[in-house]
């Protein structure tokens, strides 16, 4: 075997091609939408391209990690993320009224993003480890592991990420073979904690939820985002207004058109048909990921993979839901499409983990 062939083999054998192609398709959609919604700002587009290249490298690296390392890395990663979260709370950078970033001199990180990966891996490792001796106290501890980072993120405040982190943990618990009784208990507890949760929310978060119920109550304030994005989407119609021709996005009526509300740009310029195409890509991506999760080599990887896939779905669902005005505005980007490096990297780590599991599924079976 020649060197170049070996190198090629080495580079590619751990990539899952269907997954990779679907991720690349979404990235391409992202660059097109970004070019339009930034009104041809090449700097933004190339910044996003760099984000994607970096994310792909990370994805490849994670896929290359020896399989056994992943479960062993989980708990240290969780602890690191937790420490960083506490540090962020104490000395983090203020931006737009929230404290989400931590400056580590060399690099600025968003510890909550790291937690999105660390938490499901840790919980999967935890349930895998206590699989045969699970008692209610194990579940209570799992909920404890889950709620600590969730509350820390909620207080940053970053409702969107908190929801995603919470969801990722809940999925692991759900698939860990928990009995219906305990699920019932959790649901009841959740309902009982609702008023408490409402009081934990920041006033602006409460306003967003109230505004969702009646956007026109404050057309220039909190309801503005929802009104403008539904106008953008609705006016796109079936065929769309065409690339670079959406008035709502090109004339800046649509706020946050490059980040959280980029879906509205797609919907306005490419219409219902374009939206269905994007949905199709997401659907295939999730389908493929689910297949990987189901075929995962062991309990840990199955739990982690399920959580990653479902969190990815929730990610997209929450974003689209808020952009089309059925969910409150919580600041969740559209995965792999919205402008932003950290969420792209986090998601790529997730897909890297999935590829890692995929590459090892036969290995274990034989």
């Amino acid at each position: 075997m020649s060197f170049s062939l070996r190198l090629k083999n080495e580079l590619t054998k751990r990539f899952d091609f269907p997954l990779l192609i679907l991720v690349l398709l979404l990235m391409a959609v992202s660059l097109f939408a970004l070019y339009s919604s930034s009104q041809g700002d090449v700097a933004k587009v190339s910044a996003q391209a760099k984000n994607f290249i970096f994310a792909l490298i990370v994805m490849w690296s994670v896929a290359k990690i020896p399989f056994g390392y992943l479960s062993r890395l989980a708990l240290p990663l969780y602890c690191l993320a937790l420490i960083l979260l506490v540090l962020t709370m104490l000395v983090g950078d203020q931006a737009k009224g929230a404290q989400r970033w931590l400056d580590l001199q060399v690099i600025r990180v968003q510890p909550s993003e790291l937690m999105k990966i660390a938490l499901p891996l840790t919980l999967a490792w935890y349930f895998d480890r206590f699989e045969r001796v699970l008692r209610p106290r194990h579940y209570l501890f799992a909920i404890f592991l889950l709620l600590i980072p969730t509350i820390l993120i909620l207080k940053q405040p970053d409702l969107g990420t908190a929801i995603l982190v919470l969801a990722s943990g809940v999925f692991v618990i759900f698939f860990s073979g928990v009995s219906l009784r305990i699920i019932g208990f959790i649901v009841t507890l959740t309902v009982l904690l609702m008023p408490f949760a409402w009081s934990v929310l920041e006033p602006y978060q409460q306003v967003r939820i109230l505004t969702l119920l009646n956007p026109s109550s404050d057309p220039l304030g909190a309801g503005y985002h929802t009104i403008q994005s539904t106008i953008a989407i609705g006016s796109g119609g079936f065929w769309g207004k065409g690339w670079l021709s959406g008035t709502q996005s090109q004339l800046n009526f649509l706020p946050e058109g490059t980040t959280d509300f980029i879906f509205a740009v797609l919907a306005e310029e490419f219409g219902f048909i374009g939206v269905l195409l994007v949905f199709l890509i997401y659907f295939l991506l999730i389908w493929r990921s689910l297949t990987i999760a189901i075929q995962a080599p062991n309990n840990f990887s199955r739990l982690a993979a399920m959580s990653i896939v479902l969190t990815f779905f929730i990610y997209a669902f929450v974003n689209i839901g808020m952009v089309i005005g059925v969910l409150p505005i919580v600041g969740v980007p559209l995965p792999l499409i919205s402008l932003g490096g950290s969420s792209a990297v986090t998601i790529s780590i997730g897909f890297g983990v999935l590829m890692n599991f995929r590459a090892n599924h036969r290995l274990v079976q034989t």
């Binding site: 220039l220 403008q228 539904t230 106008i231 953008a232 989407i233 609705g234 006016s235 796109g236 119609g237 079936f238 008035t247 709502q248 004339l251 800046n252 009526f253 706020p255 919907a267 219409g271 219902f272 939206v275 269905l276 949905f279 659907f283 999730i286 479902l310 779905f313 669902f317 689209i320 839901g321 089309i324 005005g325 059925v326």
Partner: protein, 596 residues
């Protein structure tokens, strides 16, 4: 997951396929800002081309409240630079509350040069406030033409409601000008012109990107009035310190030459906005400067009604010119002991119609009224235009009262008594007339029996352009078909009023032209209250002085009516005022020079 995704797709289908038309309209409304272009309001000239109402350009401070977080703070900072009264702040807040997207709110009108400079040097601090060039209405003659012209002011909510009802709302913006009162209100649709529109593509911050469409504004038409501003000023000044009104018109075509109501007001206050103090002063002034006395003020006509009763007597053959009676100084209804007294206690002796007019003999007219009876009197007063609108081109006018049995039944739920008729005979009963009605009726004597529809427009500038709004003119006159012999009798008598022995002899003396007139002195009483304190003889309770006249008597070119409130005697107070106006009129006509 499938259900959740399906839910999203359904919502998107609803937005993008079912409701797409609705949202496309919304998106267009976002993108396209339609901003109005104010038309230039038509000017108003007097008959000689003097400008009575014009527009001048000045600067207003405008505020774009859209998307501003804290307008109160901006207002507070701004008021440190430029005075903004509390009333203005209230108005600004109200306007901001219901202003549409991208529409501006006026903070201050007509800035002084100092204020403009002050703001310009601080403009960087107020990115949402801008200076805008505006046209303001100006009335060079101020109070002199206030009741005639009315004024324009910023449109009010109730104005907008009225326009809405008439389907004219689209022609006005929220901060537009609208004519109120007088000519400005009556000819609003002519003077105003038509709003232009600019369709501009804007971005989310309201920045204009490109002009999509532009419909230019159409300027309003200018009007030339029949008013002679020089004569108007003479009349205004002749009234002196008195409250009152004077209306002069050309008896041949009904065109009004002078239209004065005193006191007036400063119309610029309405244009630029009142402060509370001067508004309440104006509103609550006992002189009631907001009442247009010339066409909306009602007065007992007193003896100025006698010529019309005399004509009724002649026309109805109740009297002949030669018929005479002995005046003992009072009249009693046969069978009654009550004495209706003549103004001259000892009586006028033997009186025929001529003498009755010249000396204003009350007894003669008591008896005449008694014999004519109220029904016939009512018929004739109505023929001369009393108790109804003259049809002048002004938004409001009073109809006064031409009393009748019907009227009294409706008004007081009481039958008509013979005694009521007697006081009507000297214009002192239930009758109430406006100075305008009196002038128009006098003109009908001057022109041989035509009740004209008075008009304030001279040129038919309107008719050519504006369908449906035709200028009132002489063709709308109503012939009375009076016998010329009867008319001559009366006219001769009215000339006698101005000569030696007449009640206005002093006012008539030394005129280079012949005048025919009739004096009147009306006791002040209130129809509504009915009771007044005899002891307090204040100015407000003194008699009203009235005078009607036309000249030259042989071929009249001017007819007028004067009412001087609480002025005293018609012959001593009102007639000299009329004389001054007539002198001024004939002086300028003889010289042929435009007055002023």
């Amino acid at each position: 997951m499938v259900i959740m995704s399906f839910f999203l797709v359904c919502r998107l289908f609803y937005l993008q396929v079912i409701k797409t038309d609705y949202f496309q309209v919304k998106a267009e409304e976002n993108r396209i800002n339609v901003s109005p272009i104010a038309p230039n309001r038509g000017l108003i000239f007097d008959r000689n081309g003097n400008v009575l109402a014009r527009n001048y350009s000045s600067y207003a401070l405008e505020f774009l409240p859209y998307g501003v977080d804290n307008p109160e703070l901006i207002l507070a900072n701004l008021s440190r630079l430029i005075s903004i009264t509390d009333e203005e702040k209230i108005r600004i807040r109200a306007a901001m509350a219901d202003t549409g997207r991208f529409s501006n709110v006026i903070i201050r009108d007509d800035l002084t040069e100092g204020e403009i400079a002050l703001f310009t040097s601080n403009a960087y601090r107020f990115p949402d406030v801008k200076l805008s060039a505006q046209l303001y209405r100006e009335y060079p003659y101020g109070e002199l033409t206030s009741h005639l012209l009315g004024y324009v002011r910023r449109i009010s909510k109730s104005d907008l409601r009225v326009l809405e009802d008439r389907g004219l709302r689209a022609g006005y913006t929220n901060s537009d000008w609208i004519g109120k009162r007088g000519i400005e209100a009556f000819y609003e649709s002519v003077l105003r012109g038509q709003l232009g529109l600019r369709h501009v593509e804007v971005d989310a911050r309201g920045t204009e990107l490109r002009l999509l469409d532009r419909q230019n504004a159409i300027s309003g038409k200018s009007l030339t009035l029949s008013i002679d501003i020089g004569l108007q000023r003479q009349a205004f000044e002749a009234l002196g310190d008195h409250n009152g009104a004077l209306v002069a018109l050309n008896p041949n075509d009904g065109s009004i030459l002078a239209f004065v109501s005193k006191p007036g007001y400063d119309p610029s206050k309405f244009v630029l906005g009142f402060d509370q103090a001067s508004w309440s002063e104006l509103r609550n002034s006992p002189d009631r400067p907001l009442v247009n006395r010339a066409s909306s003020g009602v007065y007992p006509p007193g003896s100025t009604l006698k010529p019309f009763l005399a004509l009724a007597g002649l026309e109805e053959n109740v009297r002949s010119p030669d018929w005479s009676m002995w005046d003992p100084g009072f009249f009693s209804i046969p069978g009654s002991k009550h004495k209706f007294r003549d103004w001259k206690k000892e009586g006028h002796g033997q009186v025929n119609l001529h003498k009755a007019i010249v000396e204003s003999v009350d007894t003669y007219f008591y008896k005449l009224a008694h014999e004519l009876e109220i029904d016939k009197i009512h018929t004739y007063l109505t023929l001369f235009g009393f108790g109804q609108k003259t049809g002048i081109d002004l938004p409001t006018e009073s109809i006064g009262i031409a009393p009748s049995r019907d009227w009294k039944r409706k008004r007081f739920k009481a039958p008509w008594y013979p005694g009521d008729t007697i006081s009507v005979g000297i214009g002192q009963g239930y009758n109430l007339v406006t100075p305008l009605q009196l002038a128009v009726a006098t003109a009908s004597i001057a022109n041989g029996g035509f009740v004209l529809r008075p008009t304030l427009l001279r040129k038919e500038t309107v008719e050519r352009t504006q369908k449906g709004l035709t200028r009132a003119n002489a063709t709308s006159s109503r012939p009375l078909n009076l016998s010329s012999k009867n008319l001559d009798t009366l006219r001769t008598a009215m000339e006698g009023v101005m000569r030696a022995g007449g009640t206005a002899a002093r006012a008539g003396a030394g005129a280079s032209y012949t005048i025919a007139g009739k004096t009147g002195t009306a006791q002040v009483f209130s129809l509504r209250g009915g009771e007044y304190d005899e002891d307090s003889i204040q100015k407000r309770l003194q008699d009203h002085a009235l005078f009607v006249a036309y000249a030259p008597a042989e071929d009249p070119s001017i007819a007028l009516a004067v009412v001087v409130e609480n002025g005293g005697g018609g012959g001593s107070v009102a007639a000299p005022i009329a004389r001054k106006v007539l002198d001024a009129y004939f002086k300028s006509t003889l010289l042929g020079a435009p007055s002023e």
